[in-house]
Symmetry: C2
Subunit: 157 residues, 2 copies
């Protein structure tokens, strides 16, 4: 639970920076230490691939010195999209823990269900719904705020 | 065809650097200029996400100063995997041209068929099979060489 709290703290930082509030951390299970923390940075970095999971995986790989992380677990506040789910497979992540389910853009339990594809090379153990309501509320607040700003600017026109 | 030749030249550089031989370029269709060239760098960078397409998209976004590339086309020597296909959608790439089909790990015509998912936000125009045999031969040579090295080291044991 503590690791997901850390991921949620990252999601809150993303919220305050006007990024979609998703946070992720990578834990090295051999030492039980967090080796990467990240949150979405797509807007700030002008990078559509800068999802929390991808940034955390890239940082962890850099620290470990390998493009495989078989002893690492990933904690993320939202069900990974198909891009991130595939990257999780490439990185050979041991366990994936996520908070909210993403009915619209998720790629694990929804959409193309990446880990159910016959062509997938590695499937992590998957645990969804951890601290789901807290993470979900953050997302809801974010998009409500976005819609409110959009509607106000629409009225001005 | 010239743009795919440039992508193939990148794939050959990857081959020589012992990376899976895939090359990609991004063309700004407003100027008809190549704004990003890349090849796989997963081994060198210790980054499982360093596929040619992702690197090319990130470079192009950085140059354009936006996380969307609606006026850009992507040329890549192999059918994109599900990670790259999703990134292509996020980046709002206008047209995707690819060479070889990837029966084993592709995510466009094979596997989870990302652009056929009901949850996909943007689908580019897709043209597959351009200079297919040249790109396919490069991949075949690469993996034959890998198997040969693997077998030789196996005999030594």
């Amino acid at each position: 639970m503590e690791y997901m709290n850390q991921a949620l703290a990252q999601a809150k930082i993303a919220f305050d920076r006007d990024e979609v509030p998703v946070g992720a951390i990578v834990v090295d299970t051999q030492t039980n230490k967090i080796i990467a923390i990240a949150h979405n940075l797509c807007e700030e970095l002008n990078d559509p691939t800068a999802h929390a999971e991808l940034l955390a995986i890239r940082t962890a790989c850099n620290i470990i010195g390998s493009n495989k992380l078989p002893y690492c677990d990933l904690y993320v506040t939202l069900e990974p999209c198909p891009m991130c789910a595939t990257a999780i497979s490439f990185a050979r992540i041991r366990r994936l823990y996520f908070a909210s389910y993403d009915l619209k853009s998720g790629g694990v339990e929804h959409g193309p269900k990446i880990f159910s594809s016959s062509s997938i090379h590695h499937i992590p153990e998957i645990y969804g719904g951890i601290k789901e309501s807290e993470a979900g509320l953050l997302m809801k607040d974010f998009f409500q705020q976005k819609r409110s700003i959009f509607n106000k600017s629409d009225i001005k026109k």
